[in-house]
């Protein structure tokens, strides 16, 4: 098997031009899917037989929960690739995942709390699902804190990458917490082996929202990763060439 494609990713100029072309192809569909999914979920979908309109928070909460786990897994994977292959672009991707993932994890926690007060009867409970999702947020914040505490870029890369890899064990714990232990939080409605536990009129906008949030994450993450690659190679000749070419085009 040829590894040429893999080594090409490791080249900052290639990564720069790839993400420059890719980001709008992710960002625009993300915007359309989120608007469509939220309109379908908040306006068109029927109310739930028990929660009536309060269930509609699921159109933000569940996609945010999914992206929080996916973004951490991607961050840990990129950090491991960066550690093993000493690939700077991979470290830049991991660094770009953290703030986006942390924000979306916070959205997941806050929307869950807003729903919990009227439905469960409390904003917060020390429930395994809630606690481990909060731990996930702390891993994101810890990763960002550790990076910014070390001035030397390659040392910051390696130290924070080890933290990211260690934290990935929390991802399956978050997902399976509701099945492994007695939990206040309900079991998954969509991310499960059987058919989704809702009719198509509710499910279709939810799936649009899932895909929209996912694409949104990748679009923002790639823009951040591109900025990170530029910042790291700011003295490099390829950056000068790229910027000169863009200046001419503008």
């Amino acid at each position: 098997m040829s590894w040429a494609w893999f080594h090409r990713f490791a080249s900052p100029p290639y990564f720069y031009s790839l993400t420059l072309r890719l980001a709008p192809w992710l960002g625009w569909p993300a915007g359309l899917l989120i608007v469509g999914g939220l309109y379908g979920g908040l306006v068109l979908a029927p109310p739930d037989y028990q929660q009536s309109d309060a269930f509609r928070i699921v159109y933000v909460h569940a996609p945010a929960a999914w992206v929080s786990l996916m973004s951490y897994s991607l961050m840990a994977f990129a950090a491991a690739v960066g550690l093993i292959w000493r690939m700077k672009v991979a470290h830049a991707v991991a660094a770009a995942c953290a703030p986006v993932g942390a924000s979306i994890t916070a959205v997941c926690l806050v929307t869950g709390m807003l729903w919990g007060q009227p439905m469960w009867g409390t904003y917060w409970a020390w429930d395994p699902r809630l606690v481990f999702e909060l731990v996930l947020l702390f891993f994101f914040l810890g990763y960002m804190g550790l990076r910014s505490a070390i001035d030397d870029v390659s040392r910051a890369d390696r130290a924070s990458a080890v933290l990211a890899v260690v934290g990935v064990v929390n991802v399956p714990i978050v997902h399976f917490s509701v099945t492994w232990w007695n939990s206040l939080h309900q079991a998954p409605s969509v991310m499960r082996m059987q058919e989704a536990a809702m009719p198509a009129s509710m499910l279709v906008p939810l799936l649009m929202s899932f895909l929209g949030f996912t694409l949104y994450f990748y679009a923002v993450m790639l823009v951040r990763a591109r900025a990170e690659v530029l910042r790291r190679d700011r003295g490099g000749s390829w950056v000068r060439d790229v910027l000169a070419a863009r200046g001419k085009a503008a």
Partner: protein, 147 residues
């Protein structure tokens, strides 16, 4: 086979992962009863909880068991897991989703009569969503007409 630095780093990362996963598993096993959010009636009947200890009791509100005192906030109901049942007494406002036949988690302690005196009652929701018409026709036993 010679060990390239890259292969050595790969084994390092895999070793860290395996070690942390093992440590995590052991820790969660050791704290099993602390991680669990509530005990079910069968565990309570079997004496999983020390007497006088505060804990959470979870299960279904038994159908037909809810009794309200006229003019008071005190309610009595039974929590069941369809094997054992525990009687609960609670004074306060019940959450929106509290209803007979639905999930509930109550925080409190057992009194000497084996009755659970709750100071907090939370409703536990299940993962099923459906429109009100579908729920009504399911209840009547009619065939489900589309979604």
């Amino acid at each position: 086979m010679t060990m390239t630095p890259r292969r050595r780093r790969l084994y390092w990362v895999l070793g860290i992962l395996a070690g942390v996963a093992l440590a995590g598993t052991l820790a969660l096993q050791a704290f099993r009863s602390n991680v669990t959010f509530f005990f079910d009636p069968t565990q309570v009947s079997a004496g999983a909880v020390k007497s006088g200890q505060r804990f959470r009791l979870g299960g279904m509100v038994e159908k037909g068991s809810l009794v309200r005192q006229a003019g008071q906030l005190e309610v009595r109901f039974a929590v069941t897991d369809f094997k054992s049942t525990v009687k609960v007494r609670y004074t306060g406002v019940l959450p929106d989703l509290f209803r007979e036949g639905a999930g509930v988690v109550a925080h409190g302690r057992l009194n000497t009569d084996g009755e659970f005196i709750a100071d907090e009652v939370l409703a536990k929701h299940d993962e099923k969503y459906m429109p009100p018409e579908v729920a009504r026709s399911l209840k009547k036993g009619e065939p489900r007409s589309g979604n």
